[in-house]
């Protein structure tokens, strides 16, 4: 008898909620069911997906990054100023910011610090740098960046292709490759990993450097899409990225994450906003409706968990 494997079902929840949301949107606003429509709905979800991935790396090692929003904002400001005017300086600054992230990882490990406070502090630092770079909104994205981000793929919008590639690449890197296994292991049982002879320091630095790299990518894509920047542009990404990872089936501790789920989670969050606009709710309830919709999507998860328990 073909019984649904609950584990498979659990992995499918993020995809399922995204699909449900899409169907609802298609029904309410059929115009979205086109290349043009999907592109418009999803192109701003792409930088969120990258930021979510950065957060996922941090969550994998049982830390939490409260600074990713500020960091992406700062990267956006660098890209809209230095990278455009003096590319070498811009590239150097971006590399330095990745190095700074890696150094944070080292600091957090060596002094065994709570990542929440360190990244909270760093969020002020990134924001301060951004304000110094761009005291008022403006700047311009380098043309090559805009060209890449606005590239019109045949048949399928770039945002969808890029999201798929992002999910798959990280999935293979983190979930399937031999190196990724060790990285995740350091979230599951750090002492055991140390006892097996690995350097926890190196592992943590790697994860933070990866997070920095994906944060930089997120900022670049964001600027490419909006063509200019301001210091507060991505502050919201901090909470969005955490929500995305969790929506995608990740957990706060124990190294349990799902990169593909996280990308789906980020897209879901973006689409929740779209659905809301299409529903024409009165403005004072729009914010609340966003909360309710999040709750509904998450309730789906619990429904599946219940099912899983019953199956056991």
């Amino acid at each position: 008898m073909a019984r649904l494997d609950p584990k498979l079902l659990r992995a499918a929840v993020p995809a399922l909620s995204l699909a449900l949301l899409l169907v609802a949107i298609f029904i309410i606003q059929p115009r979205t069911m086109s290349y043009f429509g999907l592109n418009l709905m999803l192109n701003l979800a792409l930088p969120i997906a990258f930021a979510t991935m950065a957060q996922l790396f941090i969550l994998t090692v049982n830390d939490l990054d409260l600074s990713i929003g500020g960091f992406v904002s700062m990267v956006a400001c660098i890209a809209a100023t230095w990278l455009n005017e003096t590319p070498l300086l811009g590239i150097a600054a971006l590399i330095a910011s990745i190095a700074a992230y890696a150094a944070l990882g080292a600091l957090i490990h060596l002094r065994n610090l709570p990542s929440i406070v360190v990244t909270l502090g760093m969020s002020f630092v990134w924001l301060g740098c951004a304000v110094l770079l761009l005291p008022s909104p403006g700047g311009a994205a380098p043309d090559w960046l805009t060209a890449i981000v606005k590239f019109k793929m045949p048949f399928v919008p770039l945002a969808i292709v890029a999201s798929a590639v992002l999910g798959l690449v990280v999935h293979f890197g983190l979930m399937r490759s031999a190196g990724g296994v060790v990285l995740r292991a350091s979230g599951g049982n750090p002492q055991a990993v140390a006892k097996a002879g690995w350097s926890l320091l190196k592992l943590k630095v790697t994860m933070y450097a990866l997070a920095g790299t994906f944060g930089v990518l997120s900022g670049l894509i964001l600027v490419g899409t909006t063509t200019s920047a301001d210091a507060n542009i991505a502050l919201r990404y901090t909470l969005l990225s955490i929500a995305g990872v969790i929506l995608g089936g990740g957990e706060f501790t124990g190294g349990r994450v799902s990169p593909i789920g996280a990308v789906l989670g980020a897209l879901t969050l973006a689409l929740v906003g779209s659905l809301l606009s299409f529903l024409r709710i009165s403005p004072e309830w729009q914010i609340g409706a966003q909360g309710l919709m999040l709750i509904v999507v998450l309730a789906l998860r619990s429904l599946v968990n219940r099912f899983e328990e019953r199956a056991q």
């Binding site: 031999a178 060790v182 995740r184 292991a185 599951g188 049982n189 990993v193 006892k195 124990g254 190294g255």
Partner: protein, 507 residues
């Protein structure tokens, strides 16, 4: 580097010359703050040796093994690897692994978020590159098949979903895996059988003997002396951080070994055990039906009774205990509990210990309502309870205010016992609670349980050791989450238990 895995088996000799030894320690000490865990230990392990390491809880066995495996640095002393002295500051896991020393630690060290295969990769750095997953799965399956024929563990299973026993089996198998770049020469097994049932434990011991015959070395730590006698060629006895005896196994018998460990010699146990089954009268205090039970059978526990849950590890006994515990606080359609309950965890890491707390706080947590007035805990009464149980169960610590994790594994277990026994509970559910407890303490706890049962406390006792079932008035045998046999004290034999445990599994 004189050893070779094909080298023929030599007679185990205490103090074999340092040149031949795989690893040798001399005068090693280790202190943790004020606690002196090792007070000058000499130990050398040659190839083809199986050393049985015994000693009371907190004697320093695990500490010594951690030093051997390079996960702890000695405070002082000499550390020779493969005939070469290693500076104490250079002692490291990778050095020890380099000469083929592997260690199955007392507290499990697998990553619960990874699959069994992926855990193989974490332990064996050489497994990488294209197709590593297939290779790792193959190596693991081979090792499992070798050591635990019929284990039924899929290498793709997530470790967190496996029962404690199966996790232990995976961990053991991983440590016996040989890759191109690394062969196990010395495998340290720190209480490997404590969470395995007897049949699996004997598979392991048989494998250990084969491994030693093929030229490998093993250090086996166990509080089950039968395991030691059946497997070890040489027995090292530790007491209070020092080695007090190091002789060929043939020179010991059970009594002399127990005496060397510093326990009083055993009286005639059978006499104490030869009590007749009580008649089961009155209303039971617990009735619990396993969720998977198809027929009407249910576990029932009467006042003053000791009821045993038997069967192979991971066949629904722990789940039943949890069900009973839950039913004591919530409505449940499967179980009915009349009375206050306390739980003694076996899987102490995940079910028992509060790792940030002192030993004292870990002991009193179940009794706080009784120790407090108007919702606030009375320090004096709490301290009194701590002191009482420190003495009663002989918890080895300078101070009950020390962190619980400073205790040795067995002493942590004693603290968990104290938590339950010291509470106001009328019913005590025990989840294979003697894991890692030394012989002397075990005997005292057995006695205490019988005494308290006599005074009206009821015990629900899951155990993987047949001998412990002899203390029970009534035994339920579990298989695949169901009760398959119900035996009175009078009809209890090891054969009957084994037969019911296996029945279909053998077919």
């Amino acid at each position: 580097m004189t050893t070779h895995s094909q080298q023929q088996r030599r007679e185990a000799m205490p103090g074999s010359s340092l040149q031949d030894s795989l690893v040798a320690l001399s005068g090693v000490t280790k202190t943790f703050g004020a606690v002196r865990a090792l007070a000058g230990v000499d130990l050398s392990v040659g190839p083809g040796e199986c050393i049985g390491l015994v000693g009371h809880n907190g004697a320093g066995k695990s500490t010594l093994m951690q030093i051997l495996a390079g996960t702890l640095r000695p405070t002082d002393g000499r550390y020779d690897l493969g005939g070469e002295t290693v500076a104490l500051s250079d002692v490291s896991v990778s050095k020890a692994q380099g000469v083929g020393i592997r260690c199955v630690f007392q507290e499990l060290s697998l990553c619960p978020n990874l699959t069994a295969t992926e855990n193989v990769r974490v332990r064996h750095a050489a497994l990488s590159g294209f197709g590593w997953r297939k290779r790792a799965a193959k190596l693991l399956t081979e090792a499992l098949d070798d050591i635990f024929p019929g284990h039924g563990i899929s290498p793709g299973a997530t470790v967190g979903d496996l029962s404690l026993g199966r996790r232990q089996m995976v961990e053991i198998a991983i440590n016996f895996i040989a890759t191109e770049s690394s062969h196990p020469r010395l495998v340290i097994l720190d209480e490997p059988t404590s969470s395995l049932d007897q049949s699996v434990a004997s598979q392991l011991l048989a494998y250990a003997r084969r491994f030693v015959e093929a030229g490998g070395s093993i250090i086996l730590i166990s509080h089950i002396l039968g395991d030691i006698f059946s497997t070890a060629g040489r027995i090292v006895v530790m007491r209070d951080g020092a080695v007090v005896a190091d002789r060929p196994a043939s020179e010991f018998d059970r009594a002399s070994l127990v005496a060397a460990m510093g326990h009083v010699a055993e009286d005639d146990e059978d006499e104490a055990l030869a009590h007749a089954a009580k008649a089961r009268i009155g209303e039971p205090v617990v009735i619990a039906r396993p969720p998977k039970q198809a027929n009407g059978a249910a576990v029932s526990l009467h006042r003053g009774e000791i009821v045993g849950l038997a069967g192979l590890a991971g066949h629904g006994q722990t789940a039943l205990l949890r069900l009973v515990q839950h039913a004591a606080y919530h409505r449940s359609r499967l179980a009915e509990v009349r009375g206050r309950i306390a739980f003694v965890a076996g899987d102490r890491q995940s079910d028992g210990v509060f790792p940030l707390w002192s030993i004292g706080e870990n002991v009193t947590i179940r009794s706080l309502p009784a120790l407090s007035r108007l919702g606030f805990v009375s320090s004096a009464r709490e301290a009194a309870m701590e002191a009482e149980w420190k003495d009663t169960l002989k918890i080895r610590t300078p101070d009950m205010d020390d962190n619980i994790l400073t205790l040795s594994g067995g002493n942590q277990q004693k603290a968990l016992f104290a938590r339950a026994l010291g509470s106001d509970a009328e019913i005590i559910a025990m989840d294979d609670p003697m894991r890692g407890v030394d012989v002397g303490t075990k005997r005292e706890v057995y006695e205490r349980i019988r005494k308290e049962a006599g005074e009206g406390r009821s015990f629900l006792w899951y155990t993987t050791e047949f001998d412990e079932l002899l203390h029970c008035d009534h035994v339920y045998v579990f298989r695949e989450g169901r009760i398959v046999a119900e035996l009175d004290r009078g009809e209890l034999t090891e054969e009957k238990v084994l037969q019911s445990s296996f029945d279909e599994a053998a077919a």
